[in-house]
Symmetry: C3
Subunit: 198 residues, 3 copies
Amino acid sequence: MIDEKKAIEASAVMGLLGDLKDRVDALESRLDTEVADIRAQLPAERAAIVLFSGDLDKVLAAFIIATGAATIGLETTVFFTFWGLTVLKRKRVLKGKNLMERMMAVMTPETSRGLDPSKMAYFGAGAAMLRQMMKAKDVTSLEDMIELSRECGVRFVACEMSMDLMGVSQDELRSDADLGGVATFLGEAVNARLALFI
Amino acid sequence: MIDEKKAIEASAVMGLLGDLKDRVDALESRLDTEVADIRAQLPAERAAIVLFSGDLDKVLAAFIIATGAATIGLETTVFFTFWGLTVLKRKRVLKGKNLMERMMAVMTPETSRGLDPSKMAYFGAGAAMLRQMMKAKDVTSLEDMIELSRECGVRFVACEMSMDLMGVSQDELRSDADLGGVATFLGEAVNARLALFI
Amino acid sequence: MIDEKKAIEASAVMGLLGDLKDRVDALESRLDTEVADIRAQLPAERAAIVLFSGDLDKVLAAFIIATGAATIGLETTVFFTFWGLTVLKRKRVLKGKNLMERMMAVMTPETSRGLDPSKMAYFGAGAAMLRQMMKAKDVTSLEDMIELSRECGVRFVACEMSMDLMGVSQDELRSDADLGGVATFLGEAVNARLALFI
């Protein structure tokens, strides 16, 4: 009788053990799935900045933020669109452009050195004043900050639609700028820790 | 004696089993709670754009981003505030407005067709030039892009405070624009994957 | 023979129990680690706004958003940089400034009361009109909104680099503004629920 009781107990124990094992199996697999799914939705260590503006002061702000973001370890991308495209220009090419494109080329600065601030442009005096103030205070110049940001790993993407619209060809731009569209920006921005429109 | 030992073993086993069961119970319930709590804090598949600007070029950029965001599956809302409110206007109504509101109505464009770019406005020549350039390059016009964004599911929200401030009545706006305030924007933006101020 | 079988069963049960216990131990510790790690990557209940602009209308928008964010429970910080620095100014000090700094001081408004809107500045007429419209519609004035935002717990940070660049001294600013740099902004923005550049 004792043996029978033990036998019953043993089979009950095995049943309980089997149930528990199933639950532990399920927990392990659920933890794997949930963690993987949640991690995929966490913001990545990434920053994405749309530089729409071609105003010297705003461009400066964009590069200060981009370089800072790269410095603290974020994979940082700047998308140069509309007026911001000028920042990537290394020269002005008129050959091969139609009338409208030539007008656009002449009406926008040849390179970043020709950018005016958003306020107090005064036909270039504002830019000269801002640059002189920066020099006096030992603030890195825009052109040096652009190079510094690249050294810190900031990626440059030129907006293809803006290039097409304004008739800017790739050989007018820095050779280290990638080309991309709104999908490129969104791909970076959607799970970035920081996305700004400047 | 052997039986007694077995009995002790059996009760020890039941004790261990009971402990383990409690821990598995706790794990299951903790996993449920933690996962639900964490999921509630994850960014939602949502984008929120404040369109403050009424500059043709910035409005275009906003719609390109909004339409792109909706296309990749984000529930996208554009909040039209201050100068951006003009984009939602389908006509200008002067009747019923006080002097200040009339001045405001006359000084802002009647509809999106009257928007000037942020640079090179030249009393409308800049807008004509930009629109012509877009046409030449087969870029969707702003008005078509507005419709396209709606077809892609982008939600429009007109800022009630701006409407009140500028004396813009709801019948001056597109009928598919919801009304809302800063709380509406924050409700969308706070756990969105993308929030921009344009 | 029966006893031997039981003995084998008992040791098998203890083995299975031991295995399960190890797996439950591992699950508990993995859940702790994963949850802690994931929580650290979730966006915090925080908002960070760069106020770059010194345009009355944009400054108003920034304070409406900042106050709203603080009201719904986000720890909110506004970083006043470049033209936005003027919002923090409580007086203009010329003494101790060099020529360039004096020019800058004279060319920027003395306090927030001197800010012009981004459109229709008309040498101050636009600001007067906007402020009068706000008053007529019982919209809180900018100055009251600044105080309100502070009462709601919004933190003010003045950009040190902008102060240095423009020669603005700390005693020209509100005494409740902290000083900080791009690292301060990024520290807040990187895991904030909302980050905007205005």
